[in-house]
Amino acid sequence: MEFTQVFEPLALDSLHDFALSRKEDGWRYVQTLAVNKDDGVDLVYSFMKNGALVNSVISDVPRDAEVPSISDAFLAAFVFENEIHDLFGVRITDIAIDFEGNFYRVSEEYPMTIISPEQLAAREKAAKIAAAKAAKERAAANAAEASAEAAAEAEKPSEDEEARKAAELEAKLAAMDPEKAAKVRAAMEARAKKGGE
């Protein structure tokens, strides 16, 4: 028996029918988990058959959405559905054994939904890294485009020296960090304005 794992999307509306069909097809229920997000949760339902572990992901479930229980098909799910309610605040309807919020004795309501300063810092850091990477790629693309244009312009015999210099300057600006380039442009405009006066 070979182990394989896949993640596949699932719609919230079809969850209950999906669970019933898994049951009929002889799949074993493995677990349910939730992942906290800024404006809701992702729910992951896992089933296994002949070594194939299939994780069905319902993305971006709103926090006030009603999620149908699958404990009528798989009784073992009642533990995880009560847990997701108590820790993430997800409303799950018709749980076979419903503890109505008293499964875990927690001092804080829905503790897994609290975004800790560490998590916030990690997210901001990851976002900054991603933004810097994207800006670098964008700048490189712009620079390549500008230098190609400048080279094409330079090849034209009728182009005057001033236009060539402007094109080179534009290419340099495009290669710069966008914020810095904006500052340079503003300074140049101010200088041109002053010179005109």
């Binding site: 070979e2 794992q5 074993r28 906290n36 992951v44 054994i97 850091k125 990851a126 991603a130």
Partner: protein, 362 residues
């Protein structure tokens, strides 16, 4: 028929080393319904993944449970390696499985001792724990720790075991095997034990499948599933692996399955020691899991399949780490096994299921 009465069982009870509460609905000494309650000591360790990077969290993972410590660190490391596409050296895979199977032996011996104590066989309890001490001594010699081993890291293991020590492990296990066979023979042929366990807390094969049960609890009802049969890591190099099964589905069958699994683990360790390759024991792991990347994993803990899930967010800290322990999965089966039993059999049924509340309340 008498009037139905609710009898609270636990959270503090002589057969329960950890807090688990059951509301038993009893009618004429027969349990007609059962409502399990956990959550007394939930620690929120999964949330801690936000404050520890993926290398540090391995030390948190193995502190989820003292008995399953090695398994949790291994399951966590394998999941993060899957998430980051890390390939572990072959020797490290062998060492991991050797330690993991030693953990299974120590867990089953611990359980057998507690079960014997509950039966009233205090000398049997002493003998089981005496044998377990030898396994703990092996842990101490090879890792420096007796319970929390801290030998697994993302990318491999932190310590090697040299040839002389590997031979010593085999020698100790061979000595243990002979004594263990005597103990098991006494246990399984004792009339009073049979009287209390045969035909008690029966779960049929169909019920076990229907309730998605895992581990020895399920295998005692002939459910042919053990994560080790998936052949991952060093398990794939075993010449043959067949899960230990029984068909009766009662307390006695569950005892038999666990007893046989100790011998199976000894055989696995001996084979792996004979086959262990030379080479590196770890690879360097750099970088962070990509934002939105996710991976899952299953591992056969002493009590059954444990499911792990990790999601990255582009930083060193994981966005989410999840462990679904075998006891959580078997709670539905426990309720089913208790329904219809005599009140006096409740503790025996719970013992043979071997719930680990510490894992469940991670």
């Amino acid at each position: 028929m008498g009037k139905a009465t609710v009898i609270p069982f636990g959270p503090q009870h002589p057969v329960l080393p950890e807090p688990l509460h059951l509301d038993l609905v009893v009618q004429d000494e027969t349990v007609i319904d059962c409502l399990p309650q956990i959550g007394f000591i939930h620690r929120g360790l999964e949330k801690l993944v936000e404050k520890r990077d993926y290398n540090q969290f391995i030390y948190v993972a193995e502190r989820i449970c003292g008995i399953c410590a090695m398994g949790h660190s291994l399951g966590y490391a394998e999941t993060v390696e899957e998430l980051m596409g890390v390939e572990v050296p072959k020797r490290a895979e062998y060492l991991r499985v050797i330690w993991h199977e030693l953990s299974r032996i120590h867990s089953h011996l611990l359980w057998l001792g507690l079960a014997a104590d509950a039966f009233g066989f205090e000398s049997l309890f002493m003998h089981c724990w005496r044998l377990r001490e030898r396994v703990l001594d092996l842990f101490e010699k090879t890792t420096g720790g007796r319970v929390i081993l801290s030998v697994v890291k993302v990318g491999g293991v932190v310590r090697d075991i040299d040839g002389a020590m590997l031979r010593e492990i085999v020698a100790v296990l061979e000595g243990l095997e002979a004594e263990y066979a005597t103990i098991v023979s006494t246990l399984l042929t004792d009339a009073s034990i049979k009287n209390r366990t045969v035909g008690v807390g029966v779960i049929s094969h169909e019920e076990a499948l229907d309730l998605s049960m895992v581990g020895p609890f399920a295998r005692a009802s002939a459910v042919n599933y053990d994560c080790r049969m998936l052949g991952r890591g060093a398990y794939g190099d075993l010449s043959d692996f067949q899960p230990i099964l029984d068909t009766q589905g009662d307390c006695y069958a569950r005892i038999k399955v666990r007893c046989s699994e100790v011998l199976q683990s000894i055989a696995i360790i001996k084979e792996l020691v004979a086959k262990i390759p030379t080479g590196d024991i770890a690879v360097d792991v750099k970088g962070s899991p990509a934002d939105g990347s996710q991976a899952s994993n299953v591992l056969e803990q002493p009590r059954g399949e444990c499911y792990y899930y990790a999601r990255g967010n582009g930083s060193k800290n994981l966005e989410r780490m999840r462990m679904r322990t075998p006891t959580s999965q078997n709670l539905a089966g426990m309720v089913a096994a208790l329904k219809g039993c005599d009140l006096a059999d409740v503790n025996m049924i719970i013992l043979t299921i071997d719930p680990c509340v510490s894992c469940t309340e991670r």
